[in-house]
Symmetry: C2
Subunit: 341 residues, 2 copies
């Protein structure tokens, strides 16, 4: 966005505005979605963009209203076996116990320190958030971001042996870039932490931090000893950006009903319902993890294994079919999953 903006400033001085359609067709000249197999899903994207950005089309959407929202975990990057943010939070357990030794014998710390991944993976979101709340309490937002950055630089996913920020779905990067090239403003609307995702959203997704809507903790306005003002994280959840909260988050942070939304689990249902309930042509998409060989396979929709992380129920699957949302089969729709494939 900000690179486009830099061109804007010059463009304003040098150019008369051409119809947006030209830009669209220019973007389409080369295949904008090379990692997508030909077929219904890819066609639904190309057709949606063509119909909503071609001047004169009955479904033409003015630039200012071109909003596209994306869930993150399981939609833009790998979420199994456990959300990346949860792994970051678990890595803080030792620091917390070092500061508060009495926690060593209390849950969830006892389980986390045991290193028993079997048991750890069964911890509830509330138990894991309890670690986060204690670990980050009072930190300035800048200090929190710096700590997340440090962790992301060294942490590696055990299956691929790569930084978690390499485990981004290449087809989705192409989709976001294609939408932006056609005037869509791309947002991440995540049940994960807004400040966590903001740490890397610009470098990894090309999405500026101000276009991240997510779950957040309260902050307090404070002064450091030198009298400098800062925001300190507080041990209390402020906004839960999941399920209905995703639609409310869109209202709060964007204030416009998206024309495009992509998710992958029951937590994204309301975001897609809110998007596709709008007037005119809208597109809802759900990434379906049906590729155990190249990534993971989980549901329980279509008989795939049950999971607590990124649950995709048969009920959601049936609603998607009934409402003409596109279901993205990782196995059949994606030529490659990662840039490094």
């Amino acid at each position: 966005m900000f690179f486009q903006l830099s061109r804007c400033v010059i463009a304003a001085a040098l150019l008369t505005v051409l119809p947006v359609a030209n830009a669209a067709s220019a973007a389409q000249a080369a295949d904008p979605l090379p990692s997508w197999n030909e077929g219904g899903t890819k066609s639904s994207i190309l057709e949606f963009v063509k119909e909503t950005t071609t001047t004169g089309s009955k479904d033409f959407v003015p630039l200012k209203d071109r909003i596209a929202t994306f869930d993150q975990d399981g939609t833009l990057w790998v979420e199994h076996p456990l959300y990346t943010q949860f792994l970051y939070i678990l890595s803080k357990a030792n620091d917390v116990v070092a500061k508060h030794p009495s926690f060593a014998e209390q849950e969830p710390f006892k389980t986390v320190l045991s290193g028993d991944m079997e048991k750890i993976s069964k911890l509830s979101t509330q138990e894991i958030l309890r670690i986060a709340v204690i670990a980050q309490d009072g930190l300035s937002v800048e200090a929190y971001n710096a700590d997340v950055e440090k962790w992301l630089a060294s942490a590696r996913d055990p299956r691929w042996g790569k930084p978690y920020t390499d485990l981004i779905y290449q087809p989705m990067l192409e989709l976001m870039e294609y939408l932006r090239a056609n005037g869509y403003k791309t947002y991440i609307v995540t049940g994960g932490g807004q400040d966590f995702v903001r740490t890397y959203s610009e470098s990894v997704y090309g999405i500026p931090v101000e276009q991240i809507a997510g779950t957040s903790f309260s902050t307090q306005f404070k002064y450091d000893p030198a009298g400098k003002a800062y925001l300190a994280l507080q041990p209390e959840l402020f906004f839960d950006d999941d399920f209905g909260g995703k639609a409310r988050g869109i209202g709060l942070f964007i204030g416009k009903r998206p024309y495009f939304s992509a998710g992958n689990s029951t937590g994204d249902r309301e975001m897609l319902e809110y998007t596709t309930s709008g007037e005119g042509r809208r597109l809802g998409m759900l990434v379906f993890h049906d590729d155990a060989k190249r990534e993971y396979a989980y549901g329980p929709a279509q008989g795939l294994p049950e999971t607590q992380v990124g649950t995709f129920t048969q009920n959601l699957y049936d609603e998607a079919v009934a409402k003409n949302w596109s279901i993205i089969s990782m196995k059949n729709d994606w030529k490659k999953i990662f840039k490094f494939d």
Copy 2:
């Protein structure tokens, strides 16, 4: 913004990026602030923009970090004798009493229906918000926006006999446009209602609704009888974007510390402190209403009359001087106040 974005799309295809400094000097060729008198205040703006946008300057700020935040009431448009949004809320009292006749004898409705402006202007914010809460309860955000739009189209300010959206300070419009022409992303950070300001922000200020941070009520995700999803306003304050809340709102909605902030009252103190506590060159500005002849004069700073609406204390004035914030004298710094002057 979205017009610039439309140019972006074409620029991406046609242009190699020129240094931003060229755009800046292009913008400066003609006086970008014609409604500002020459002098210290105008110079502080020109110098700030030059130093933060000229490649090679030690205070150069990358495009992605160029964030400028503006309070609205009393900073961008007239707030006396009463906030425009309060006048809208008061106009709802009759509808509420028509629906709930028993309220006619209860405060604040009794006072509002009396039409006694003297008493009405003494109602507390809590009393006025009570009317809002009842009037808008359950409305979809779209229905609320449509109602505000309808009111703005017919309501007239008694002193100038003009729509409230004409009572915008021309020098501030020029300042926002000048900052945008130099790559700054302009936001409104208001103690007023986020949804209220979003109704007209694009047409009046050229600021898209997603760049409005403000006070908001909770919403609920609901389905209409046809099964369409929408957001319904709830009778409960969700976020109070005033005083420390303005700094917290910047963290929540923008996630970056601004380089420029403008306000006009004690409610903007923390926003300016947060902005100017950042590293490098920052600019904080306060509009001082010292022009009873062309607009209004109130303080109580510098011996001007006390007011409950847009209070500017001597303490804030002294902090501004001590911290090198620019105090904008409406009387001395502005050639004209309104476009129609």
